[in-house]
Amino acid sequence: MDARTNARSPGAGSGEIVVSHASVGMFDRGGKSLQLVEDCSFLAERGLFTVLVGPSGCGKTTLMNLIAGYIGADAGTVRLDGVDVKGPGWDRLMVFQETALFPWMTTLENVAYGPMVRGIKTMPEIRAEAGALLERFGLGEFKNRYPRELSGGMQRRGELARALINDPLVLLMDEPFRGLDAMTRQLMQEYLTRLFEETRTTTIFVTSEIDEAIFLADRLVVLSRAPARVAAVIEVDLPRPRRFEQLSSPRYAELKEQALNLLYAEAAAAFEETGAGADIKEAFERRHVAD
């Protein structure tokens, strides 16, 4: 646990995820088969913050569920440190879109849950550790409150604490800041960045917000329209520690332009295929011409 509570050397104790040629399909209600992820390969390198971006509905969440082990791949593999992922496990912990803190447990009980069910320590030890972690996450006063009584930002921090107490090798975050107000969202981005820079736990983060993506990422994996494949990988070479001021740097603007162009191409192609959203495409084109 000391590795968690103290800053540790970059990448130590964190894992590496390799997704290779993964495909996931499902049947829709009419019995028609639907491809969600197709021949998708990417690498979430040890100690790096990898962000998946892609047009909405492209299969980002499916990909995350695959890595978490909630669903299986029809073809291809997901490996954690060279070992096939076969189901959910505490070595890859997920922070969900909407908070999944258990409403019937206090913040402390939520954080203590993982160590408790795994039975790795005595209950007093676990409680002390969970309490210390909550203190560090600024939730010390709220440890005996139920999630309902916390603000959105506090809930997300509580969920981060619930994952990190287990020392996961990989942290999976599926649009975790969706639904937060703009101010809280920015604070949480800053908070997560500092936390990551301190712990260097391999993180895979899904978002559809391009600013959030670039601010957080070491590496941006741009996904294609559905079914999800990797359209491009962009190395975000902005220096760490990250500061919000970097969002106005020329390099940032370049990266954003590069990512947006890729995303736009995918979105436009998706509209052409489905015929939906032609108005959005037109608006986007007009904006682009004006640039």
């Binding site: 909630y70 189901g87 496990g89 258990f102 069910v117």
Partner: protein, 281 residues
Amino acid sequence: MKSLATAASAPSATPAERGVPLSAGIRKYVHRHFDLVVGAATLIAFFLAWQFARPLGIPGLSAVEPPTKVVAASWDLLSSATFWTACYKSVLRILAGFALAQIIGVPIGLMMATNRMAFHTIFPVTEILRPIPPVAWIPVAIIFWPTREMSTVFIVFLGAFWIVLLNTIGGASTIDESYRRAALSLGSNRWHLFRYIVLPATMPSIVTGMVVGMGISWEMVVAAEMIASDTGLGYLLWQSFEINAGAQVIVCMLAIGIAGFVSSALIGRVGRLLTPWQGRR
């Protein structure tokens, strides 16, 4: 209804009364406690109508003993052992039937919601039996169970059982998938999933089932006692009717109403203890 009109409108009064301190005070009081004043006025009107139903010739109400006689009768009844024995018997039956409904209904519901095989095995039987009103079971219950006491408890049990079962199934089968997934990721085994996720997530629905089930239990105990028993409040109520003791009938009705109210409040308490994370309404 004349008395209601006067009671409600008198204090809010005519402009001529303005400036008189006492009437101003009353006006202020009425304004602040409008709901209380109207409620009290309605009650007073109701009791007056009831009391003077016979001289006023109000249809229906005039067939019922007036409140003064009911009060007198309740004095007699409340000081008799018969009444308290009846209360005791009914409460015992409620407790037994209600507790059995929880002990049997909740586990079966949880099993049906979490195990497909169990669901498809039990569901057809419940779907045939459930629409039958528990009261319709009374003759069969009398034949089936060796004692009248057991038959009565069985009817109470049936009344609460279906609602407990349905609520438990409903609650346990609509648990948010992300809770289950989070628990699995964090290292839960099947027992942990049941104990820390399924059970607490279903608890609010179980509590709802308890509250509704308690109400139905009282309905059932009264019906069953009227037909199948020779003790209890339901029996006493019917007996009072048969010996033409009208005031006593009313007292029994009120006693059953109060008992139902008190037990609902108690169940509400228990429910809040079982689900401390839920907000108060």
